[in-house]
């Protein structure tokens, strides 16, 4: 190896290198060309590298590139000397160059060695490409963000700009600004059409208020008004405050189909709407529509537009509020300017804010004058405290209703105003309306004055009428009038033959008193008084200028009178005196009311004078009457005390107030035991119920009468006939009860009944035996009688019949007269009664060959049918008995006013005129033989009379001797 290395450095093997080329031309040329090309390349590479280095100043490998440039230049030079040395053996130079090149190469190699780790650390190409791509994307993202930021910035600027504009602009400019904003937003959103819909007052449709569309786009005409119903889904979204974001109309859900149809009809591809909601009020919505393509709006855009729509909502709401406020204000202004009412607004600070012209007109101030002063300055000083209190109440939220105060007019007068006010505390404003009640107040005051005057007149009249102290009354009268008229003096002057006398006076302390003084002046009797003869009052407004007699003026000036009013007082058509009011400090124009009062009081004094005179006359009369009354009362008391009947006076409740001695004597109770006790407690239980009914009758009819049984203190019982009368005195009604003790009478009646009953039985029983025996004898079954015996038997039979009838009639009459026969009255048909009677009497009529005729009357009477039939049969029986053979008896009835008139007419012998009345008496017959011949008892007509009278009717007879008789009776017609 060492040998090998020595060979290289030894010279023995050295040969010129041309010899290496073997002197072959081609070979030499090959070397020459190759070396030449290498030289050329090696010289151009450094140039490029130097150029590179110079161009890329940031190149981190500049040093190594310089070294490479130097090394390649050295290499190129060595190759150039290879060519050179072919012809010129400058091998030292060539060697020297190679050495330099070697050094540079070595340095380069060493430098490269140190650079290798750095070079290896450098990214690879793929890495660089990836890095480059990432960088590119980042750059793009940054660009996008930058664009978005710019977008946001632009929008924020847009919103900020419009916010400022919207706040500052008036309504009209605001509209333009909104349209400009819509244009800007449409551009921002990249849509063709942008619109603003507001809710209509009906709240069922939206109405287009603002819109913008791109120049080359004509928006659909139908998009002017949208009914809620056209967009059911969209409306729900918007009303609930959500954004209506329809990026693809074509891809809506089924539930949105109606909305989809609506939008598709408008050829809208995408639409987004923002609700305008504020304080729960839905104002409308802001919409953006794309007609050419579908659009997806980013969340950010949506948020930005929501911000804008909120800002727009506030603006629109404020605008609406402002419109409403202006409208209200305009209305208020209109109301204030046109209304005749007195309207105003005022601040709680105490100043008017707005006044209706009528208010200014009423008070007479220009409006400015009223506005620049506190309203309290115009209020009457007496009303200011109340007014202030009322304003305080208003400021606490109360309302004023009918508050009244006085406002000063420019001319100094005051007008009464009645206020109705309310305060809006948010505005610190009082809204008030007033009514001018000045005239009413004046009327009220006049009325009050009139009332006072009437009351005074009434009081004075009462005093005059009630009192007999004439001077005291006149004094009171003068005082009352002086206080009412607020005058210095009121005087009552009485005329005397020589002048006049001051009878009464009421005068202020500073004026001289003249009461009791007599003014001896003859002119009182003539000039002064004459003018009052017609009763008219007179007044002097100002004594100094009045056209009056000198003597009168002198008198008035003596009394320091400046003005007066005078009314005459009359007594029996003559002037008795004068009622005078004096005003001493100044002339006075007396009001009509005052003059009237004076006259009326003077008239009342006149009446009083007449009354006093009359009273004096009456007094004597009254004394006489009182004495008479006392006598009468004494007589009555004696009668009351001595009366055998029981007399009670009860109060309306039935409590005993007074009894006469007969009550105490009869019943045995003391007066104390009876007073204040109910009268019914004295009655037996069965009578108490009757008494209750009696009190009712007393209330209805005022009187009542019935029989009653009373308990006495000793346990015995008495029967009384009790009469009660309700006496209605003005203020103290009472019941007068009169009881007559009929116990003995009742006992006698009972005895009589018993007697009649016994007599009836005891007479009839033997009569029955006699009559029966005679009848049996008459049959012939007990043996035959001679003709004389038969005749005697007939006489006996006839007389027993007569005796039997007589007994029956006597008993009948007695019972009817005593009232023990009760007439059972009821509605009866007249024809029925007549038919019954004629049927009963038909056989008798036929026996006597008398024709019985009767008419029909379909009418009712209120009667006891049996007794009326008995009456009719009795009358018919008489008529038949007294008719001649073949005669006719007529029974007729007719209505005569409220009665039915019955008539029994015969054609018999008639009744003498002197007997016509007597025949109704007992046992009175026209002929004494009639009883025997006609079989009458002489009691039939008496019984008939009793029966008819018990019915409230009348019975009488008319007759013409020889032509017949006619018996009439009447019965009350029944109303059924």
């Amino acid at each position: 190896m060492l040998d090998l290395l020595k060979s290289f450095s030894s010279t023995w093997a050295f040969i010129p290198h041309e010899h290496c080329d073997l002197w072959q031309t081609n070979l030499i040329w090959l070397h020459i060309i190759s070396d030449g090309l290498i030289t050329l390349a090696d010289y151009s590479i450094p140039v490029m590298l130097v150029y590179f280095n110079r161009q890329r100043s940031d190149n981190r490998f500049k040093g190594i590139i310089w070294l490479f440039s130097a090394f390649i230049l050295g290499c190129g030079t060595t190759h150039a000397f290879e060519i050179w040395t072919l012809w010129h053996p400058a091998f030292w130079i060539s060697g020297g160059l190679k050495a330099i090149t070697a050094i540079i190469s070595s340095v380069t190699a060493i430098a490269l060695f140190s650079l290798i780790p750095k070079a290896l650390a450098m990214p690879s190409r793929d890495q660089l490409e990836a890095s480059n791509l990432a960088l590119t994307q980042e750059v793009e993202e940054r660009k996008r963000i930058e664009v978005e930021l710019q977008h946001r910035l632009d929008f924020d600027q847009l919103v900020a700009r419009y916010s400022t504009q919207f706040i500052q602009l008036d309504s009209q400019s605001l509209s333009s600004a909104i349209e400009q904003a819509l244009e800007d937003l449409a551009g921002f959103m990249g849509v063709e059409h942008c619109f603003l819909f507001k809710v209509t007052p009906s709240e069922e449709t939206f109405s287009l208020t603002h819109a913008w569309a791109t120049q080359d786009f004509i928006p659909p005409r139908t998009l002017i008004e949208i009914p809620y119903a056209a967009l059911p889904w969209g409306m729900t979204q918007l009303l609930s405050g959500q954004v209506l974001n329809l990026s693809s109309i074509a891809q809506l859900d089924l539930e949105q189909s109606q909305d989809q149809t609506f939008w598709q009809d408008l050829r809208i591809k995408s639409v987004i709407g923002f609700p305008l909601h504020i304080q729960g009020i839905f104002l409308g919505w802001l919409g953006f529509a794309s007609y050419t393509h579908e659009q997806e709006w980013s969340e950010q855009t949506v948020q930005l537009l929501k911000m804008f729509s909120e800002m727009l909502t506030h603006t629109l709401h404020r605008e609406q509020v402002e419109i409403d406020r202006r409208h209200a204000q305009a209305q208020l202004q209109n109301l204030f300017s046109k209304t005749p009412s007195l309207n105003c607004t005022a601040g709680l600070d105490g100043y008017f804010q707005l006044l209706s012209p009528s208010f200014c007109n009423l008070l007479g101030y220009p409006m400015d004058e009223l506005l620049k002063h506190p309203f309290l300055d115009f209020v009457h000083p007496e009303d200011q405290a109340l007014t202030l209190a009322e304003v305080e109440n208003l400021s606490r939220g109360s309302n004023t209703i009918g508050f009244e105060n006085r406002y000063r007019c420019q001319n100094g007068d005051y007008r009464w105003l009645s206020w109705h006010s309310t305060a809006i505390l948010e505005d610190q404003t009082i809204y008030a309306t007033a009514v001018d009640i000045t005239e009413r107040k004046q009327e009220q005051m006049e009325l009050t004055q009139k009332n006072r005057s009437l009351k005074l007149l009434a009081d004075l009249t009462l005093q005059i009428r009630q009192s007999r102290q004439i001077d005291e009354v006149l004094q009171q009268t003068a005082k009352g009038i002086q206080e009412f008229l607020q005058t210095d003096r009121v005087l009552v002057l009485q005329l005397t033959p020589a002048g006049c006398l001051a009878r009464a006076e009421s005068v202020l302390p500073e004026q001289s008193k003249i009461v009791g003084q007599e003014f001896l002046d003859p002119c009182f009797a003539t000039e002064y008084v004459d003018k009052y003869q017609d009763g008219t009052p007179a007044m002097i407004v100002d004594v100094s200028t009045a056209d009056i007699h000198d003597c009168h003026r002198d008198l008035l000036q003596t009394l320091n009178v400046k003005s007066n009013v005078i009314a005459p007082i009359f007594q029996q058509d003559e002037i008795w005196g004068l009622l005078i009011a004096h005003q001493c400090d100044a002339p006075r124009c007396w009001q009509d009311l005052e003059v009237d009062l004076l006259k009326q009081v003077a008239d009342q004094i006149s009446v009083g004078l007449a009354q006093w005179q009359l009273l004096n006359q009456l007094e004597g009369l009254v004394e006489e009457r009182t004495a008479a009354f006392l006598r009468s009362e004494s007589q009555f008391r004696s009668l009351f005390a001595a009366a055998p009947d029981l007399i009670y006076i009860l109060n309306p409740m039935g409590l005993i107030q007074t009894v006469n001695p007969a009550v105490i004597d009869t019943l045995g109770f003391s007066e104390q035991e009876l007073l204040q006790h109910p009268l019914p407690e004295l009655l037996t239980p069965d009578c108490q119920a009757l008494c209750k009914q009696g009190f009712q009758d007393l209330g209805d009819q005022g009187v009542h009468r019935q029989e009653m049984n009373l308990h006495c203190k000793n346990g015995s019982m008495i029967t009384v006939d009790c009469s009660c009368k309700l006496v209605n005195t003005d203020d103290d009604p009472f019941i007068l009860v009169l009881q007559r003790d009929i116990s003995k009478q009742k006992a006698i009646e009972a005895l009589k009944d018993e007697f009649v009953s016994v007599v009836s039985h005891e007479l009839r029983t033997p009569l029955t035996s006699i009559h029966g025996s005679l009848k049996l004898l008459g049959t012939g079954n007990l043996g035959d009688l001679s003709s004389q015996g038969t005749q005697v038997l007939q006489i006996a039979l006839r007389n027993t019949d007569r005796l039997s009838r007589l007994i029956n009639d006597v008993l009948d009459l007695e019972r009817i007269e005593s009232g023990r026969v009760v007439m059972s009255k009821q509605h009866c048909n007249v024809s029925d009664l007549m038919i019954q009677a004629t049927q009963d009497m038909q056989s008798m009529a036929m026996q006597n060959q008398v024709m019985l005729r009767a008419n029909q009357l379909d009418c009712g009477v209120f009667a006891d049918a049996d007794h009326i039939t008995q009456t009719l049969t009795n009358l018919l029986s008489n008529a038949i008995k007294f008719s001649s053979l073949g005669g006719q008896v007529y029974l007729t009835a007719s209505v005569q006013g409220q009665d039915v008139l019955f008539e029994v007419r015969d054609q018999g012998r008639g009744i003498p005129q002197d007997k016509l009345m007597k025949i109704f008496e007992r046992f009175q017959q026209v002929d004494v033989s009639d009883a025997r011949q006609k079989g009458g008892t002489g009691l039939g007509l008496a019984i008939c009379q009793q029966i008819i009278e018990r019915h409230g009717g009348k019975i009488w007879a008319e007759s013409e001797e020889g032509k017949g008789s006619c018996f009439y009776f009447t019965l009350p017609k029944s109303t059924d």
Binding site: S757, H761, T765, P766, T768, S769, G772, L776, L811, V822
Partner: protein
């Protein structure tokens, strides 16, 4: 046909005689006689007459009381009773009817028509004279 019986109660022997004579003479009835209410009730219970003719005013027990007792007893309560009365007042007659009287014949009565009157009240066949 069984013979009908009539009980005549009257305290007056003359009336009894007249009535019995009249009825016997003109009717086929069996005539029973009693002179007081008590006796009449006893006979009525025993004999059960078809009808009783009763005087109103009698000593001891009057006709009204007799009727009440007849009506109260089961044996006699359904025997028709006709009163002979001198009372003509309607209230008296009304009281007798209320007490259960079947008829009323006034005194003085006609002995010749007494039977017909009784038969009329009781609804018995008319008598042949």
């Amino acid at each position: 046909m069984t013979q009908k019986s009539i009980l005549l109660i009257d305290d007056d022997p003359d009336i009894q005689a007249i009535a019995e004579m009249g009825l016997s003479m003109l009717t086929p009835w069996k005539i029973l006689m009693a002179s007081s209410g008590a006796e009449g009730i006893a006979i009525a219970r025993q004999e059960k007459p078809d009808a009783i003719v009763l005087d109103v005013m009698m000593p001891d027990m009057d006709g009204l009381e007799t009727l009440k007792q007849l009506r109260a007893a089961s044996e006699t309560h359904d025997i028709p009773v006709i009163f002979l009365t001198a009372k003509v007042q309607s209230s008296d007659r009304q009281n007798l009817y209320i007490a259960g009287a079947n008829g009323m014949i006034n005194k003085p009565f006609d002995p010749l028509t007494l039977g017909s009157q009784i038969a009329g009240f009781l609804g018995w066949p008319a008598l042949k004279h």
